[in-house]
Subunit: 245 residues, 2 copies
């Protein structure tokens, strides 16, 4: 009797996006550069990008703990932007709403890692593929349109009103898909995301992104648990999950 391969139980792949599918750091840095030059800020734009991103988890934590009702990521990004600019001694009040909004929308315009689009196209032939990101629906939609990400649906925090790594984010998304947790595989470059998904019963796939935070990255350089799949990029994941070329 033919044994069933592990991927035969999977109906949907849910993807972390920032860092796993797109390279937010170099995309944000590139788009920040003209503004920084114009305002005489001589820091490396990559460091400014990292500083903006560093305010992300604490902002999510306010919502995850229930200290703050759910608001979408565009709102948190905007608050963090204003704090970031203040950190760099920019007078936020002197900037137009248009300028601030355009800076905030940088997160809607991130470039994929070179292997992402081709890998997703292969995975899509066998599975439902959707982002399960903390990014809001419009953000993910704009990004997909700009980068050519071939999602079947836009899922994630805004649909279920919960931010990863809260268990509600995973479990409510499984309900939306009308799937048992084990029929879903979470795909992420972050061990913490996969650990939370596994606790909810999801299968897990780790995709290595060793330069997400730049050349000196110290975290997520290896699989820290025996994830169901471990791959060096999205194409290798497609191959390991027996997707057509």
């Amino acid at each position: 009797m033919e044994t069933m391969a592990k991927e035969d139980t999977i109906k949907a792949l849910l993807f972390d996006v920032f860092g796993t599918v797109v390279d937010w750091r170099t995309s944000v840095a590139r788009q920040l550069r003209p503004f920084l030059e114009q305002h005489g800020i001589q820091d490396d734009p990559h460091d400014v990008a990292n500083a903006w991103r560093k305010k992300y988890q604490p902002a999510l934590e306010e919502v995850r703990t229930g200290r703050r009702p759910f608001v979408k990521l565009d709102v948190l990004h905007r608050e963090n932007l204003e704090k970031l600019l203040a950190d760099y001694k920019v007078d936020v009040a002197s900037l137009s709403e248009e300028t601030l909004n355009d800076l905030n929308l940088i997160w809607h315009r991130l470039d994929p890692w070179p292997d992402s689009v081709a890998g997703l196209r292969r995975l899509k032939q066998r599975f439902i593929i959707a982002p399960m990101s903390n990014g809001n629906i419009r953000l993910m939609t704009d990004m997909a349109k700009g980068a050519g990400l071939p999602w079947d649906a836009i899922l994630g925090a805004e649909v279920v009103k919960a931010y990863k790594t809260s268990p509600e984010a995973y479990l409510r998304t499984a309900e939306v898909l009308d799937l048992r947790p084990e029929e879903i595989c979470m795909v992420a470059a972050h061990n913490s995301d996969l650990a939370a998904a596994r606790k909810c019963g999801f299968h897990t796939a780790f995709v290595l992104r060793p330069t997400e935070y730049g050349p000196d990255q110290k975290t997520n350089l290896r699989a820290e648990q025996d994830w169901d799949w471990v791959a060096d990029d999205m194409g290798q994941l497609a191959t390991k999950m027996n997707c057509p070329a």
Copy 2:
């Protein structure tokens, strides 16, 4: 000075799906036929499809009026299926869960009208395109995958927990998209859907589907208000909205 065309204000097109994008009647009839034959039901499968659909608006109305909390359309379709089978003297209790579920999933497997996919591809080059259907996310995702509908996102009732033609369905979807209502155009083959969208400030496009209910259709055979666009099919709509060929 160049005058601005009306479509220049539009950022997103939101589509009614059942009847406007897909031909639910012939798709449901075709998939019901083997079951009906097996159970000795000699009615025309198209009439059975219409009878199932006829239970749709009353079920939605329970939710729209607040008499019942929001539940997704798969649940309502299933309840209506069991009533429908009882109407045709089928002993529902004698059927397996698998059979009932497979019948219910007929609504996930509907064929597009012949012009839908090509028209949507053209419209997608200029606008965000998404379903704003009463169908739930998984239903719309399965349908898109099966029919090749190139949506940028899956929006609709389940995302905003409100069924059309409640104003909340339109207004909350505009919030999700972070667009002003006038930056959105509702596309539908149903005058009532467009009337509700217009009351919320949306632009409107009527696509004629004169055989949605079969050759003797009596309703929605013409635009009943001066909708912003009126087209005979999705390709003509793309042309009228100045989308590339």
